[in-house]
């Protein structure tokens, strides 16, 4: 357990020291959302209607930008070999690194979303829902993304390949993320979509490390 905490702390420390990955993701998120009203025109009703969808899709794309580095920096400098000789099983190494990605990228992006909602004339009632669904949905993004990152570890310019592999797997998260906001906004709506979103995240947290660890073991041969 202490090895797990040590690894998580090191990865968060590196994320703070390097800063680049988070800055790029937040900057990209802000730019995409800012460009959209410029392209669509100042139709406030239209913007308000599409705001949750735009914020979710842009968040997925922004999170993708930093996924490539989850394992590749450790692979390139040889740390991954040493991590594999620890007492921690590879599945937990993957869990720790995905968790670090969620804390250092997923949470800041979810925090940024309501601020960007202002630009899109998002309904006042939707702010807490948007933040809540994103906080619950982003673990799935980090953990599913880790599988893509592990599979493309040795691929040249793996970043684009990750997008192709992983974006289709984000479809359930996106659908239920949107459905959760819409369901809770309607007066008659229920929270079932929100619960399914939470279930997707929890399943990803449990299952994806197993797949990613198997992929890493093949890549390290």
């Amino acid at each position: 357990m202490s090895a797990f905490v040590a690894l998580l702390r090191r990865d968060l420390q590196l994320a703070v020291r390097q800063g680049g990955a988070l800055g790029t993701a937040l900057g990209f998120y802000m730019l995409v959302v800012t460009l959209l009203p410029l392209g669509l025109g100042a139709d406030l009703n239209l913007l308000s209607r599409i705001a949750p969808g735009v914020l979710w899709i842009a968040l997925l794309l922004a999170a993708l930008l930093s996924l490539g580095r989850v394992f590749s920096s450790d692979y390139e400098d040889g740390s991954l070999d040493v991590l594999a000789t620890g007492t921690l099983p590879m599945e937990l190494v993957v869990t720790s690194k995905s968790l670090a990605h969620w804390i250092s990228t997923g949470i800041p992006l979810a925090l940024m979303a309501p601020v960007l909602g202002l630009l899109l004339n998002l309904e006042i009632g939707a702010y807490p829902l948007l933040f809540g669904t994103m906080l619950v949905g982003t673990p799935a993004i980090s953990f599913i993304g880790a599988v893509g990152a592990a599979l493309t570890l040795r691929a040249y310019r793996g970043g684009l390949l990750i997008a192709l592999l992983v974006l289709p797997l984000y479809v359930p998260t996106l659908i239920f993320g949107m459905a959760a906001i819409n369901g809770l906004l309607d007066a008659a709506g229920t929270g079932s979509a929100f619960l399914i979103l939470a279930a997707i995240s929890l399943a990803a947290v449990v299952l994806c490390p197993i797949a990613a660890a198997a992929a890493l073991k093949v890549q390290m041969q």
């Binding site: 202490s2 090895a3 040590a6 690894l7 090191r10 420390q13 590196l14 020291r17 390097q18 390139e76 400098d77 040889g78 740390s79 070999d81 040493v82 991590l83 594999a84 000789t85 620890g86 007492t87 921690l88 390290m220 041969q221």
Partner: protein, 218 residues
């Protein structure tokens, strides 16, 4: 404690690089792997560490998990070994001391229970003459200093088996002496070491395997 390899056959990209390598290494003994470039030294070490699945044959560790030395039980080789390969495994944004203290916490086993992380890191820095560089970000270290930092990992957590892949690359004469001293001390404590090297190393007691070129298998 014993490391046993039986009839190891290894392939790299469909090419056979080692054929029927067998050895039995007892506690307190070093094994030197020599041979020309491309003869399979690194591949053999990666197979011993468990990264690479051999095409045939087995690697077994007899006698206990990390350091408790209880004979009769077996453990995964990867859980009882230190692996220092061609890459140093150093984070350039962390200081030398932070790099080591992470590995000290991550690789700690039951044998390290009594000594605190700080003590282990200080002792390792002292041993590899890195104490003056402890607070410098590792990115500013020279190639030889980085190598010493990677080797200092051997001293922050006790592991009975050391797998070293050309550990003397970019080390100066004095540091090479320190490394050889550290390996000999480890052997005296009953540890094992498997070392791929191109330079002669004065280790006792020692076995050697000369790997040669192996014909491409059909």
């Amino acid at each position: 404690m014993q490391l046993v390899a039986e009839n190891l056959t290894l392939e790299r990209g469909g090419r056979r690089v080692a054929n029927g390598v067998s050895f039995c290494l007892d506690g307190g003994t070093a094994l030197l792997l020599t041979g020309p470039n491309g003869s399979g030294k690194s591949t053999l070490l990666r197979a011993l560490a468990g990264y690479l699945r051999p095409a045939a044959g087995t690697v077994r560790w007899l006698g206990g998990g990390s350091g408790d030395g209880g004979d009769g039980e077996t453990a995964e080789v990867s859980e009882v070994c230190h692996f220092v390969g061609h890459l140093d495994g150093i984070k350039t944004h962390l200081t030398a001391a932070e790099n080591l203290s992470f590995w000290a916490k991550y690789l700690a086993g039951p044998a390290d229970g009594k000594r605190s992380v700080g003590e282990r890191v200080d002792a390792a820095l002292e041993r590899f003459a890195l104490a003056a560089l402890a607070e410098i970000p590792a990115g500013y270290l020279s190639a030889g200093q980085k190598r010493r930092l990677a080797l200092a990992r051997l001293a922050v957590a006790y592991r009975p088996l050391w797998l070293l892949d050309e550990p003397t690359v970019s080390l100066d004469t004095a540091s090479t002496g320190v490394l050889i001293g550290a390996i000999n001390a480890h052997l005296k404590d009953g540890g094992l070491a498997v070392i791929a090297t191109h330079i002669p190393m004065e280790l006792t007691p020692v076995q050697a395997i000369q790997l040669g070129r192996v014909e491409v298998a059909p």
